[in-house]
Amino acid sequence: MIEVRDLTKVYGALTAVQGLSFSVAAGQILGLVGPNGAGKTTTLRSLAGIIRPTRGEIRIAAHDLTQDPIRAKGALAFIPDEPQLFDYLTVVEHLRFTARLYRQPDTVAGIPAMLAEFELSDKADALASELSRGMRQKLAIACGLLHRPAVLMLDEPLTGLDPLGIRRMKRTIAARAQAGAAVILSSHLLTLVEELCTRVLIIHRGERVAYGTTAEIAADRPELAGRGLEEIFLSLTGHGDGPSP
């Protein structure tokens, strides 16, 4: 569903992402992790069509993002860490507007259910500017999911949510994957990645340092056998304390 080959992004003298290749099949959840400045956001923004890669190929639901951007974007949803909403539109208007942008008039009928799923029903007519940070985040995700995207990309999706919201968000992400969506989840919360993701891509200084399930990654490095994702991550990004006795 997502195929990335040799993705490279250069900003002047800085190579933010270097030769990244990976794929995410339908139903899989890929955890994208890396230290600050590793190139996670650049990778996600390239995959969402916000920035143009310097080199490489990105295919979303079999559509080349560079050659056929409209079809590729029509199949994906990107939810950034900071919800980007129009302060002057109400909650329900955001959803109706999204339905029009994605040419999905039939999804309008599903708006009440979507509002209920994200506990936004009683805020349907509230302006986005009147919502709390957590509710804005829920609305951004609801807009992203409205057109039933085949590919879902989330950047730190739990930021600003309360414990109940976190639990429901995790269920929503898992449910979308079970329904056949390919999901990329970028987060610093390694426990979340461990809990939800079927595979992990660790990048450091723009390059892939590990890719696969936690067990596969550990299998390639005997010294990491039996370790959790946090220790694997720290070890591979040069911050590990070495294998404990």
Partner: protein, 561 residues
């Protein structure tokens, strides 16, 4: 505290100077600053060689008094601009927990406001004082400083008092009713004074000027005349005589503000939060215009199915509908009413008044072709900080740019169309148009096409500038310096030249058509010319939007990791 404040002001000034010097390494800043300096120099030079300053006459003094009264009533009725109360987040972090009294913190705020007042007074003196028999430059500066200081203190006091009332549970009308009562008192005073006026030969302006000094309104308006009196003085002795009451009034204001500091922290924190919110909104949306609570009730319908282009137009027009300030609309209606009232007072017959109204409507429709693209921003300029999101939409750049540009162009064309219809109707009613009725109607329709094409091109240029040269578009809500003024002048100048360039072709072709067809079609050749020119402009607009769409898709990345 004074030491700390002086240190902070000094260090801020020094570091800003250093930053400016660093920025001067960039040609963009150098050009902008040079243009800004050249403009200020031209204004200054023009003033030195223009007519010398003469003390304001009774009409100007009356206008100033009424303006001051209007500003003050606006603060009390609708709430003062509370930015005067706002602190920066760093100031809150450092000053509020520091071992300082409320008066000291408020004193810091007043001192910082004084810096702004002094700079403004100096700037106004440089720009508007031209020498001559009136006041010298120093008294002029002192008069301005006193007037601005009093106004600044009053604004602060009004904000604090209204906040205090709010804290005591007085909401909405309950907060405003004392001000409404006082306003009604002034209105009653104006009516009484009007009845006592006996100036049969004076025009409306002369009557209003006399009204301001006629009892009982004259007495009621005294507090508004005092701050302006030093500026209206005819000489040094008169200036000194006017200075004392003005100083006294400013002193009373200072005492009022310092004693009203009971609710100061809460009000200041609220104002600071509001400013932070405005800054955040500016960064998110490129505009500080906020949809007030309840604005969600102002709705435009959006069908479930249809083109994304119309959805973008709907979104942008909804934004405008919800963020346009009711105060702006009220001001517009009041100014129009005053204009019509003054015009009616000087016109002998109803016919003359209708002709005047029609001419004004047509003049406004024409002027909006130039002013509208600067004022109406229901387009990409309002979404510059959301480019990331726009790029994820499954739309071609052309559709997106077409939606953005046509939002503003549609609105402006409708406004101009209504004004044009009113103007044509009024002039036709008075038989001021020497053309047959059907031709006038056809020309109005053709004019709509012409205006639509012109507006699309004009908004295309403005949006193109924002897309291709975002660094030249204002990115901060704080007042800018000379370089920002230079940037604005340059962009406005280049946009105007580009518009002329786009107009040249269609104008030539339309003019040629009129010249060639006139022997055959007579006056109807005008219609042919308008249609040809409209077609030319619409074609140019189409090509421009298509090109901008392509540039949108290829534009440099909106940000880095």
């Amino acid at each position: 505290m004074i030491d700390a404040a002086l240190y902070l002001f000094g260090a801020t000034l020094r570091n800003r100077g250093r930053r400016l010097m660093r920025q001067l390494r960039s040609p963009r800043y150098v050009i902008a600053i040079l243009v800004g300096i050249a403009y200020l120099g031209l204004v200054f030079f023009g003033q030195r060689h223009g007519r010398p300053t003469t003390p304001p006459g009774p009409s100007l003094a009356a206008a100033g008094t009424l303006l001051l009264a209007a500003i003050v009533f606006k603060w009390w009725l609708f709430g003062a601009d509370r930015s005067a109360l706002a602190f920066t987040p760093a100031e809150i972090q450092f000053l509020f927990p520091a071992p300082l009294s409320r008066a000291q913190v408020l004193g810091f705020k007043l001192a910082r406001n004084q810096l702004l007042v002094l700079v403004n007074a100096a700037l106004w003196t440089v720009l508007f004082w031209r020498g001559g028999p009136g006041l010298g430059a120093v008294p002029h500066f002192l008069g301005l400083w006193l007037c601005f200081s009093t106004l600044s203190l009053h604004r602060l006091g009004a904000a604090l008092t209204r906040d205090s009332l709010l804290q005591h549970g007085a909401q909405g009308w309950r907060r405003a009713w004392p001000a409404v009562l006082i306003l009604l008192l002034y209105v009653a005073g104006a009516v009484l004074a009007w009845q006592r006026l006996d100036l049969p030969d004076a025009g409306p302006v002369g009557r209003v000027a006399a009204l301001v000094t006629t009892a009982p309104l004259g007495w009621l308006l005294l507090p508004f005349r005092i701050p302006l009196a030093p500026l209206a003085a005819q000489g040094s002795s008169e200036f000194l005589a006017a200075l004392f009451p003005a100083l006294l009034l400013a002193g009373v204001h200072l005492l009022w503000v310092l004693r009203a500091d009971r609710s100061f922290e809460d009000a200041a924190l609220e104002a600071s939060a509001r400013r932070a919110e405005l800054l955040a909104r500016w960064r998110r949306e490129g505009s500080v215009a906020a949809a007030p609570a309840g604005a969600g009730r102002r709705r435009l319908p959006l069908a479930a199915a249809g083109s994304p282009l119309t959805a973008i137009v709907w979104k942008n027009l909804t934004r405008l509908l919800r963020t346009v300030s009711p105060a702006f609309l009220v001001t517009l209606v009041v100014l129009t009413a005053i204009g019509i009232g003054l015009g009616a007072a000087e016109r002998e017959s109803r016919g003359e008044l209708i002709t005047l109204g029609g001419t004004l409507a047509l003049a406004w429709a024409a002027a909006l072709s130039l002013l509208g693209p600067q004022w109406i921003r229901a387009d990409l300029r309002g979404e510059l900080n959301q480019l990331d999101q726009l790029r994820t939409w499954p739309l071609s750049g052309t559709v997106l740019m077409a939606g953005m540009i046509s939002s503003s162009a549609l609105l402006l064309t409708i406004v101009q169309g209504v004004l044009g219809a009113l103007g044509v109707w009024a002039l036709a009613l008075e038989r001021q148009i020497p053309l047959p009725g059907p031709l006038v109607l056809a020309l109005w329709f053709a004019g709509l096409g012409l205006l639509a094409g012109l507006n699309l091109v004009a908004f295309g240029i403005q949006n193109g500038a924002a897309l291709l040269f975002p660094a030249w578009v204002r990115t901060d809500i704080r007042p800018g310096g000379i370089e920002q003024m230079g940037q604005h002048l340059l962009t406005a100048g280049v946009s105007f030249l580009l518009l002329l360039l786009f107009l040249a072709g269609p104008a030539l072709v339309g003019g040629g058509a009129a010249y060639l067809l006139r022997p055959v079609l007579g006056a109807w050749a005008l219609l042919a010319a308008a249609l040809v020119a409209s077609a030319g402009l619409l074609l140019e607009a189409f090509l421009l939007v298509d090109w901008l769409g392509d540039r949108f898709e290829r534009a440099p990345d909106p940000g880095t990791d």
